[in-house]
């Protein structure tokens, strides 16, 4: 029994829910492109290639179902971004949602930022469950009444109504990125946030849409000298002056905004020396970092490149403190993966609430979890076949060569179209959301 990842030896992951169409034919617009829990974990947002955002809300715990906590049900759905056309450059701007980031909740409404390639929008999601009735000047249909008809005066009364969840765009942050936005990150001051594209990072104030500060610019004077691009960026969870950004060369730069207005010079530079023995045509591609995430503590950060996940101590720049191989068996297949474009897949990674475990996706709808304390790892699969309520997920294993044992899958049988790029871990509990193409799987631990 491969258990223990995520907390304790008795730990096991169980299927909870799956959202999305069962149909084999996947509409491209339905492909999930980002998944994010809010700060409390009560809400779970997904963005898709069609520019839509779907927010799920967790039900209050039910007394009837002791073995599982509340389920996530659709709370709000709205069209965040539409396809646009840049007439000046004659290029189409995809509506695909690249990133969603929640703002901490400060009142009854919820706020999130959603970004496509060029534009970031601040959405307010608010509930309306009461309606004023008994207006003097309007009748029930809302039509203005003839003033001469009014003979009495009454005070409108708030009456309950069916819950309505409204999403409205409160800010639109546009025209600040020439290249494709790959990251947004809310700062710990809750007033500013950063957005990063391939060559630049901008700092915004949440209230101000007509301007932003450019804080990193790695565009060379001559584009022919371009050697690396920015692949991800994130604000430090506690220090509002610190942020990091990763590059396509496998390096991470930590910058301090107090040092200069333009943070082109890093404060810290994280890079692991390359292993010369593993050099190949594709060494550079697989070293490109696809995601960077600070731990909740702010002491560590995690980076994902094509084959591995690395945990870095912010105090040590010359190498990561931990390296986890996600699917090392793919190293010998890099050429085929290059041909079918899989080598360009950008996997994300995430921490659990206590920073004791990390999770990332792979192919064949597999996802991997690593326990940092016990050094145990587990491979699980998100599939409809294992989707009985509270069914325990069986660990999966990929056979790398030689005799294939029962229940193992050989590398050549892996389905590279079924990729898990986006995963999210509840900030406080052992609940995870895994996006498998157009389906969203939610798994919980068996305990509780």
């Amino acid at each position: 029994m491969m258990a223990g990842v995520g907390g304790g030896n008795d730990f096991q992951w169980c299927f909870s829910q799956v959202k999305g169409a069962i149909d084999e034919d996947v509409a491209e617009a339905d492909i999930i492109s980002t998944v994010e829990f809010n700060y409390s974990g009560e809400l779970l947002a997904t963005g898709d290639k069609g520019g839509r955002v779907v927010i799920f809300q967790r039900e209050q715990e039910s007394k009837n179902r002791l073995l599982s906590r509340g389920e996530y049900n659709v709370y709000s759905t709205f069209q965040s971004h539409e396809p646009e056309f840049d007439y000046l450059k004659s290029l189409e701007i995809e509506e695909k949602i690249n990133k969603i980031r929640w703002l901490p909740q400060q009142n009854a409404a919820h706020f999130l930022l959603s970004a496509n390639d060029k534009t970031i929008k601040l959405w307010k999601i608010s509930e309306r469950d009461k309606r004023a009735e008994g207006y003097n000047l309007k009748d029930e249909d809302g039509r203005l009444q003839d003033q001469f008809r009014i003979t009495t005066l009454r005070v409108p009364v708030l009456m309950p109504m069916d819950l309505m969840v409204e999403a409205s765009p409160r800010r639109i942050f546009a025209n600040a990125h020439t290249y494709h936005i790959n990251s947004i990150s809310v700062n710990s001051d809750y007033e500013t946030y950063l957005s990063a594209d391939d060559l630049r990072i901008n700092l915004w104030h949440l209230e101000i849409t007509d301007r932003s500060f450019n804080i990193v610019d790695i565009k060379p004077a001559n584009m022919e000298e371009l050697t690396e691009v920015i692949t991800a960026a994130e604000c430090h969870p506690h220090q509002c002056n610190v942020f990091v950004y990763s590059s396509s060369k496998g390096t991470i730069r930590l910058c301090d905004m107090r040092a200069a207005a333009l943070c082109d010079r890093h404060s810290k530079f994280f890079e692991e020396p390359e292993d010369p023995s593993s050099r190949s045509f594709f060494s550079e591609i697989i070293s490109s970092i696809s995601d960077v995430k600070f731990s909740h503590s702010g002491r560590y950060m995690m980076t994902r490149d094509y084959l591995s996940v690395k945990v870095w101590d912010l105090n040590m720049e010359n190498r990561p403190v931990e390296t986890y191989q996600v699917h090392e068996y793919l190293r010998s297949k890099l050429c085929s993966l290059y041909e079918n474009d899989c080598i360009f897949d950008k996997f994300e990674c995430c921490w659990n609430g206590s920073d004791s475990a990390i999770m990332t996706g792979s192919y064949n709808n597999f996802f991997r979890m690593f326990d940092r304390n016990t050094r145990r790892d587990i491979t699980l699969e998100a599939s409809r076949e294992n989707s009985k309520p509270r069914a325990i997920l069986k660990p999966r294993k990929v056979c790398t060569g030689g005799k294939r044992k029962k229940d193992e899958i050989s590398v050549d049988s892996l389905d590279f179209n079924k990729k898990i790029l986006h995963t999210a871990w509840h900030p406080k509990e052992n609940v995870i959301a895994v996006a498998a193409t157009n389906n969203l799987y939610i798994f919980q631990d068996k305990m509780n």
Binding site: K89, S90, L91, E92, I93, E94, K96, D117, T178, Y179, H180, N182, D198, L199, P220, A221, N222, M223, E224, E225, L226, T227, E228, V229, T231, S248, F281, F282, S283, E284, I285, S288, C335, Y338, E339, D341, F344
Partner: protein, 274 residues
């Protein structure tokens, strides 16, 4: 030799990806294309490294013997600059002033140069007669030293490349495919803030060059041609490689680099267009 076949295959695939990226929805993905160009460069280095290492000394003598047997069309497929792009090591700063001069020299000496390199580019010269291409050449002279200094290597490399690739090129006569690719490239895919004017020049150049084309498929010799041209871009990448002597190529490389400039433009502007 297997690795050469593999390298060549990877180069073809890479060029195909770059070509296809221009028609993808959402515009050119800078990151992906950068990575593809890295692979392309690595593969090309492997592909051509064999030519350089063993054949450097032999090529000089062989060139004179074999060169004249190769048809014009074949020769121009493998401009001498083929391996020069590999050799951009440390930089290039010493040479900034030389490049524009070399180019001017080339244009002046079009009819005078008798070396086989010029023969290799005979078809290019035809193109160059077109006035629109002069503007393209101007663009190349404007490109900074890094991109221009690449073609400084021994022409023997290209000669070897030609020799080895002859079997593939047999029976084919066609223009360098680069203009074809450029003209097919959707202008809409560009993202560059500053690339507009080079793009326009390229478009003019490519549309004129296209008239001269006969074959339009991306076959292996086209691939090789594209590789040499494309490899000259992203010179910043190349500059990080280990230093190899450039001096040995300087004198004979003069003409080569001028030809390289001609080849350089459509692709360099394509990259700049990012």
């Amino acid at each position: 030799m297997e690795y050469k076949v593999e390298a060549h295959r990877i180069m073809s695939i890479s060029l195909g990806k770059i070509y296809n990226s221009r028609v993808q929805r959402g515009g050119i993905k800078l990151h992906k294309n950068l990575l593809v160009s890295l692979v392309l460069r690595s593969a090309r280095q492997v592909y051509l490294s064999d030519y350089y290492s063993g054949a450097c000394l032999n090529a000089q003598s062989e060139r004179e013997g074999n060169e004249w047997d190769i048809t014009d069309s074949e020769r121009e497929k493998f401009p001498p600059s083929a391996t020069e792009c590999d050799r951009v090591e440390s930089t290039e700063e010493p040479q900034p002033n030389e490049q524009p001069e070399k180019e001017r020299e080339y244009r002046e000496n079009d009819d005078e140069v008798k070396s086989d390199q010029v023969d290799c580019t005979s078809t290019l010269q035809e193109q160059n007669q077109n006035s629109s291409l002069d503007s393209v050449a101007k663009v190349s002279s404007e490109t900074p030293p890094e991109s221009i200094t690449e073609p400084k290597e021994s022409p023997s490399d290209s000669a070897v490349a030609e020799r080895d690739s002859t079997p593939e090129a047999n029976g084919e006569s066609h223009q360098p495919p680069k203009p074809h690719v450029c003209s097919n490239r959707k202008r809409s895919a560009e993202e560059s803030e500053s690339g507009d004017s080079p793009q326009k020049r390229t478009k003019v150049a490519s549309s004129n060059a296209k008239e001269d084309e006969e074959a339009e498929e991306m076959d292996t010799s086209n691939v090789s041609n594209l590789i040499t041209i494309f490899g000259s871009s992203f010179s910043g990448l190349l500059s990080k490689e280990s230093a190899k002597p450039e001096a040995e190529a300087e004198d004979s490389g003069q003409i080569c680099c001028d030809q390289m400039l001609k080849n350089l433009n459509p692709w360099s502007t394509a990259i700049v267009a990012f």
